[in-house]
Each structure stands twice: as C-alpha cells, then as structure tokens.
C-alpha cells in the first residue's frame, strides 16, 4: 500500500505517448536533478500535460521508461508512486474541509501524525486559520495554496505542477510565484512546473525545457535560453524577438561576422553564427535595442509608429523603411520618450544579436490563438 | 414465446375439475378470513364494531378477519383467479359470490364442497333457495343474502323529482350526466330488458342487443356518468349521482340516515339475485368458515343482520325473529317480500359459456367504451 520511497534524479528514457494515430509525446530523454525546479514550457497541445501524467502514473506510456534514482517506476500504479501533482483546476475534494484534504495522502499511507503534519503544511502556505473551511469557501488563490499543501505534505520525490497558477489573475499570480519558489526552496523537493507563461518559467525555474509538438526543442537555464535561443520557435515563444533576414557577407573578423540586411551593413558575434551559413535570421531582443546611437555599432533608421507606456517600461514599434516593424523596449528610467511619427535611430551591440538557421519560419512560436 | 405458464394454461378442458383442499388449520388457528361486499353486515351505532361477528368470536373463540373487498364480481374474480388457477391459497376462507359467479367457480373447480355436518343450521334454508340451477343440491354454496336490483335516487340532486322507470333514468334530461349504472351486466341489462317488456329469465340474443342499444343511446347522449360496482353508494349519498341502478338493501339502509335517498322497484319489473357463501380451494380454515356459516343460519342472528342490511334473508324463521325486534321491519317488502313483490322479480337466466363471453364482451365494450 505504502508508496515505495525512492530518491534521486528523475530520468525519462525514450518516453513516448501515442493516442490512436496521434503522437502526443515523441520519444523523450530527460534527466531532472533531484531538488531542482524544472519548468516545462510550450504552446497549448504540445504534450506538457501528457508528459506529467505519465510521470504521475495517470497515463500509461506507449514506450520508454521512467526512473527515480535507481528505481524504475514505469509500471508502478499511480497510488504507489511517490509522486504528487498539483492540478491546474486544483482538484480539491469539495466534500472535505481544508485540513481533511491535506491529510488525505498521509492517511492513505497510514501516517500516524497526519493531522500534525497537515497543520504544519497549512502553516507553510499561510492557511492555518482556514483549516476547517470547505474549499468552496476559499478564494482561488487560497485554493491554489491548499492544493500545494496537499501535495507538498507528502514529501514526494517529485512534485508535478500542471499550470497551478493558470487560473489566477495577474497580481495574485505574481504573488503566488514568489510563494511557490519560497516553498520549493524551503522543502527542497524536485518540482516540475508546467506553464505557458514564459515570464513565470524564467523567474522561477533553474532549468527550462521548451516543448514543441511533442518534442523538447531546447533545454537550459533561463538566461541562456533567453539570450541564446536555438531556434526561431524558442526565440519567439520565450519573450519577443526582432528577426531580420540577413546575408553573411564575409568571414568573421575580430570575433564578428559581417552581414547585410536590406543594404545595411551589420555585424553579429561570430560564436553565434553557424560556421557555413550564407543566410541567417538575425535576432535581437527588444530590450537590447537602444533608441539613439549609443547602443552599439549596429544601426537602423526608422519611424516610431506606436508608443505604449506600461509603467516600468515603454514599448515602441519602429517601422523600418522596408515596412517591417521592430519592437523596442526602454525602461522608464527618466530619460525622454520618443513620440509617434518621430524618426529615430536604433542601435545595438554585435554580441546582443543571435543568428538562427534561415530555413525556419520567422514566426514560429508566435503563439497563434488556440 | 408461449411455452411458459400462461395465465390460463392450467384451466383447460371442460370436465369439471375438483377444487384442491389444503391442510385444515382450523383447530390450531382460531381464525376465519371472510371477504364480503361493502355495507353488507350489521354495524354498531358508533360504527366501531360489528355486533354479530363479535358475538360469534365470543361464542367460538374464532377471530373473524372481515374484509370489504368485494366490489364487483368480475373485479373480485380477476383478483383471485390467478391464485386459484395456480393452486394457491387466496388468503380467504370464505366469501359471498353472486349466483352466476358461483356457477363459474364450481365449473372451474375453484370452490370446495361444504361439509354439511359442520353446518347443522343449513336445514333452516328457505325453500325458495333450495334448488338452484347454478348449484344443484346446494353442494358448494349457501345463500348469504338476496336482493333486488332497482332504481335508487337522491331527491336533493334530482330537485325533488322521483325516478320511477328505467326509461326515465336513461332519458330524463334533468338527470343528464348524473346517472350511474351497475357494471354487473345481469342487473343493468336485466332491468332494461324488463323495461323493454322482455323477460330476463327468457330472452334472445336480439333482445339482449336491443337492451344494449338502449343503454348505448343513453350513453351517447351523455346521460350516463359511469358504470360502477358497489361504490355507487358513495356518489349517491354525496349527491354527485342523482339516480342509478342500485341494490335494494343498500339504498334502504342508507336512507335510514339520509331521508333524501329513495328507492323505486320499477313497475315493469326488477331482478332478483342472491349472494352465496362459498369456500375457495386451498382455504386454510375451512371448518371455521363452516362454523361461521352455521352461526349465521341461526334465524335470531340473521334477524340482527337484516335489521341493518335490509336485504332478503334466506333463513327460515328470520321474519319471526325480526318481528320480535321491530314490527315495522318485519313488514318491509324489501326484506320479507310478499308473493306479489316476488312475482315481479325475475332471475337472470343461465348463460352458456359462449353466450357469457359474447354478452360480457358486448356489455364491457359498452361500459368501458
């Protein structure tokens, strides 16, 4: 009855899921170190939930194996795995009060101290006072925390979070992100966190895997993924990117490769360009672009077509002579703002550009509404 | 398919089968279960007890479960038939069926012969009831009461008007929609035959159809509200029924409390019937039932019953016993009819099995159509 206690890294080997004729998860190999905060990011339908469900034992993989440490759990039943899930919809038991919900897992394993531990877990999520309430009497954010407590209290080897914050509104969401991170650090469990809020993934996770159509497209720490996306998909999905189709005009000099875009000479850091490429996508993040000449040697001229104030920053759309608009983000640090219609120069440093294989679509990962 | 035991499978053939007897528990269980028509037994003034039954229990120690669940012969037969056909106990030890029904019960072997040794008082049976076509030699039955089918009406509902003939009953616009007839074919059709100048004890199929036609006409005109069993007494007392074909004693006894209820024995004639004690197959307390019959065949006991039910007593000597209680009652033509009264009373003739189904069908179609 009691789940087998195991520990160590979570390892997926060739894990695959096919539904009828549709492959939701292509053979996936992945190691998630014990105690890490891992985020799985990707557009709707890319297979995030399916992957998590296989780890939880709620879905039978078509092929592949799952290990925690040295123990294979591929064929272990869900209720015998030491893995817990926080569902997007919370899935709190509506007929039990908050405390009973949190005790549930402990009691199933016959834990003598269920109540004590459950109360501690509720303290951890700062809900000690609502222990006797029914879930329906709580706000969304509180329910979310109960769901978290209910899972964490079992000290699982792996805690799966399937868009736990998806239903919360923005402000609450930012608060819960901080709390979630705090709790992970406090209890030191392995968290696998599914989200399609990129900012959430970047703020919280040690490692992010970006999934696309059943495959992991890129894996790494947030800054690496953001600064050096490996594909247009990742470049667009994780934050915004300005992509320019450029032609390589010569060999690298001083660590920089000369390129041209629409007859304008530009440079890219050499280590960002595939050796033999002729044509590439040159990508620059909006915040790396400077309005004015001081951003670096790469310069483009255009006209401001839209300005929007977001408080912390202002976002500009700058129309290029060839029609395309570039996005520029400038922190509102007190410097003056440009106005729509103004002609401006945009500049950036060579090392802030990244180059991507030109064979890809420029708009991959610009999430179409699904 | 039809392989299984269909409701009728066990009663095929035309040889009279004999009713099966059960182990008689009379000596160990001092009980007798008696099903009877409503308002067919004496009741104390406060309506809480039934004096003659109580006296019987006192005298013999036998408890009587008296149930008034006999509303109509066909209905009652339909209720017990599946059990009788299946050779099972009906839960009843004795009931009172009307003459023609007794014939059917005997024919089908559903009733047991009476053990006259247990009914010495059977000797008190009035001569007129002794030899009857439906039970030659009275082997299976003894009459409980007899009576007339006649016209009953509520003067409050007729606006004081008297209802004297069947023709009036079926055509008088003043009664429209407030007339009921009996679902007992023999009573209703019998009265109509008489009204049409025919004799119920000797009529043809054409006569029968003519009578049906007359009723059909009244029905089509909206004259008739319903066909009823003994439940007509309810509506008649309430005034929801203005006039109806009724059983003599019912109206007579009800009118004691409700003077607006009146009764007519039509000039054209009326039918005479009898309801008879029978003991069904598999009855558990046959001997107790026979003791009960014997008890009621005591004229003094029967007199008490008559004083209440106002039907015709089949027990010789009842008139004298009644006279001892109440002179007027002894003169009541309904209880002790004169030869003149009796001469206008006709019995409905026996029907062949084929006639019975055909006539019943015609009548039922009329009644439920």
């Amino acid at each position: 009855m009691a789940a087998t206690r195991t520990s160590g890294d979570l390892r997926l080997a060739g894990l695959t899921k096919e539904f009828d004729t549709f492959t939701a998860v292509h053979p996936m190999d992945l190691v998630i170190p014990e105690g890490s905060f891992f985020a799985l990011l990707g557009p709707s339908g890319c297979g995030k939930t399916t992957t998590l469900r296989m780890v939880a034992g709620l879905e039978q993989p078509t092929a592949g194996r799952i290990h925690i440490g040295d123990t294979e759990i591929t064929d272990t039943k869900a209720h015998q795995r030491n893995v817990n899930t926080v569902f997007q919809s919370y899935a709190l038991f509506p007929h039990m009060n908050v405390l009973e919900n949190v005790e549930f897992g402990l009691r199933r394993r016959g834990d003598k101290n269920a109540t004590v531990k459950a109360k501690e877990a509720l303290e951890l999520v700062q809900l000690g006072e609502v222990a006797k309430k029914k879930p329906a009497q709580l706000s969304g954010g509180m329910q979310q925390r109960v769901a978290l407590a209910r899972a964490v209290v079992n000290r699982p080897d792996v805690l799966l979070l399937d868009e736990p914050l998806g239903a919360l509104d923005l402000k609450l969401r930012r608060q819960m992100q901080i709390e979630l991170k705090r709790i992970q650090q406090e209890v030191g469990l392995t968290f696998i966190h599914v989200t399609h809020d990129q900012e959430e993934a970047m703020t919280m996770a040690d490692t992010i895997a970006v999934m696309n159509a059943g495959r992991i497209e890129q894996l790494g720490d947030p800054a690496t993924l953001y600064e050096h996306p490996a594909s247009t998909f990742v470049a667009n999905f994780l934050g915004q990117s300005n992509l320019l189709k450029v032609t390589v005009t010569g060999p690298a000099r001083n660590g920089e490769v000369p390129v041209t875009a629409y007859d304008t000479a530009l440079t890219v850091a050499a280590d960002h360009v595939p050796g033999d490429a002729k044509e590439v996508w040159l990508g620059v993040r909006p915040e790396k672009l400077r309005m004015g000449e001081h951003g670096g040697p790469n310069r483009l001229h255009g006209t401001v077509s839209d300005v929007s104030f977001t408080g912390v920053a202002t976002q500009y759309l700058v129309r290029m002579p060839w029609g395309k608009e570039l996005t520029v983000v400038q922190q509102n640090d007190g410097s003056g703002r440009a106005r729509p219609g103004e002609d401006v120069t945009i500049s950036w440093a060579a090392e802030h550009g990244f180059a991507l294989d030109a064979a890809q679509a420029a708009d991959a990962g610009v999430e179409e509404e699904g | 398919g039809s392989k299984g035991k269909s409701p009728s499978a066990s009663s095929s053939g035309s040889v009279t089968p004999t009713a099966k007897a059960a182990q008689d528990m009379s000596d160990t269980e001092k009980i007798v279960n008696w099903s009877n028509w409503q308002q067919y037994i004496d009741v104390s003034d406060d309506e809480k007890s039934r004096p003659t039954i109580d006296a019987f229990t006192k005298a013999t120690g036998i408890k009587v479960n008296y149930t008034e669940d006999y509303n109509d012969n066909d209905e009652f037969y339909a209720k017990v038939r599946p059990l009788l056909a299946g050779g099972e106990d009906t839960g009843r030890d004795v009931w009172c069926s009307t003459d023609w029904m007794v014939a059917r019960l005997i024919r089908q072997g559903y009733v047991q012969p009476l053990d006259k040794a247990n009914i010495p008082n059977a000797k008190n049976l009035e001569a007129a009831f002794q030899d009857v076509s439906f039970d030659p030699g009275r082997k299976y039955s003894l009459p409980w009461q007899a009576g007339f089918a006649c016209i009953g009406y509520n003067t409050k509902a007729t606006g004081g008007k008297k209802v004297t003939t069947i023709t009036q009953l079926l055509t008088d616009p003043a009664l429209k929609g407030k007339v009921t007839l009996l679902s007992e074919m023999r009573d209703t059709v019998g009265l109509v035959l008489l009204d049409q100048g025919k004799d119920p004890s000797n009529f043809t199929e054409a006569d029968f159809k003519a009578a049906i036609a007359m009723i059909q006409k009244a029905k089509d005109a909206g004259q008739i509200q319903k066909f009823t069993g003994n439940d007509y007494t309810d509506g008649l007392s309430a005034g929801d029924i203005a006039a109806c074909v009724a059983w003599s004693g019912d109206v007579a006894s009800l009118s004691l409390d409700a003077p607006e209820l009146e009764l007519t024995l039509p000039e054209a004639g009326y039918t005479l019937w009898s309801d008879n004690f029978v003991i069904p197959a598999m009855a558990k307390h046959k001997k107790n039932a026979e003791q009960l019959i014997n008890y009621y065949y005591d004229p003094k006991v029967m007199a008490e019953v008559e004083a209440w039910v106002n039907y015709i007593a089949p027990v010789a000597g009842t008139k004298d016993a009644v006279a001892a209680i109440d002179k007027d009652l002894a003169a009541n033509q309904l209880i002790f009819p004169s030869t003149e009264t009796l001469s206008k009373a006709k019995k409905f003739r026996d029907l062949t099995s084929k006639e019975e189904s055909e006539f019943t069908r015609l009548f039922t179609n009329l009644a439920t159509g």
């Binding site: 709620l58 869900a78 209720h79 509506p94 549930f104 199933r108 899972a151 | 409503q38 669940d69 069993g229």
Partner: protein, 263 residues
Amino acid sequence: MSWIRRHLLAFAALAVLALLLVPNVVVAVFSFNDPVGKFNYNWAKFSTDAWAHPCGSPGICESLGLSLRIGVTASLVATVLGTMVALALGRYQFRGRAATNLLIFVPMATPEVVMGSSLLTLFLMLGIPSGALAILIAHIMFCVSFVVVAVKARVATLDPRLEEAAADLGATPAQTFLRVTLPLAAPGIAAGALLAFSLSFDDYIITNFNASPSSITFPMFVWGAAQRGVPVQVNVIGTVVFLAALLFVIAGQVLSNRRQRAV
C-alpha cells in the same frame, strides 16, 4: 400596480405551489373530522379520534406497513443497483453502453399500464406468484431507472480529476471509490433514493397488476376505500407521511447546511 407587475412571477409561482398543496391541506383538515355516516367529505365536527387511533380502520396499518416495507426495500435495492449502473455508465466506456442507456430509459418511457401488464405476464411465465415479492421486484425494476438518471446526472458533473487526484495522493482504487467517488455522488444517490421511495410508496397501477389479496399496499387500500367511503385514518396517515417527508428533507437540508457552515 407596478409593485404587482414586478412581482407577477412570484404570485404566479406561489399560486401554482398553493394549487399543488391544496389537497394536502384538505386532507389534513379532514383528518380532524368526525364524519356523519361513512363518507368523510362533509365537515361535521372536530375530533382527534382518528389521530388517537390511526389503525382504527381494519387493514389500514397492515397495508401501510406493507407499503413501507416494500418502499424501503425497493428503494434500497434500486439505489444500490442504480448507483452501480450509473457509475458504470458515467465513468466507463464499454460495449453495450448505448444499449444499456436505452434499456434504462424504456421503463420510464412506458406507460404504467403497459409496464404493469407486461410484468404480470412475465411473472406468470416465470412462475413468480403475484403478491408482495412480485410487487417488490416490479418496484425495483421501475425505480432503478429513476435512480440511474438521478445519479448519472450527478456523476456527469463530477470532475474526473478528483479521482485522479485521489490516486495521485496514494489512494487505492477501493479507497478512491469509498472516500471520493461515493461521497461526491451522495447528493445524487440520496435524491435517487428519495425519488425511488416516493414512487414505490405511491404506485398503484403497476402494483395493482401484480398484487394478491394478501398483499394490499397502502395505495390499494385507499383505492379500495375510495369505493366505499374513505376512513378518516387515511387522512391521518396521508398527513403524517407528508409531514414526515417534509421533516426528513428539511432536516437533511439543515444538517448539510450546518456542515457546510461549520468553520
């Protein structure tokens, strides 16, 4: 005037409700009558006689007892069977699911006479004698459908993730069923059971087809009594059952409210 117009709906609703309850009021009032003669429809004088002797009319309490026994047994059995069927239908894809759905619907879509008569025919064929057992089986058969419908409606709104959550938290399939599925379906089950009981307790037509003289249910008693003057006790029992049902349901309501409010 505009106040009336604004509350027109409330008036209409309450009028209909009143209409629904008028007979119950009349029944209750006449339970205190001391009728002249045997027909209880003219107010004569006030009396609590019938209340003092609710079994004062022969056969009435036996029939009530039988009806209660059949009602309780039938609704219990039907609830268990119906719940299982509903859970199966609501939770699992299996072959013959559509057929089962249809089969459940048939008894509800069959007029009672047809149902009663075909059951009678069936019982005769199977050699099941008319009587309490036949009635019980018949009642179970038609009650099951109603239970299934009530429970299925509940199960349909049940979030399947709750069961997954239970498994995820280490509950075995049996524990999941007992501690999650069943309690969550409980309101539907209770509604089904209540419906089943009331249908069984109230049924006349199907019962009448399958009854024997020794198995007179309460509605049959009333029907019989209707032919010859209904004893006041019937009013008493009708009123008591009505009030009992009210109390029962209100108590359940209050209890579940209190449980919800408990902090």
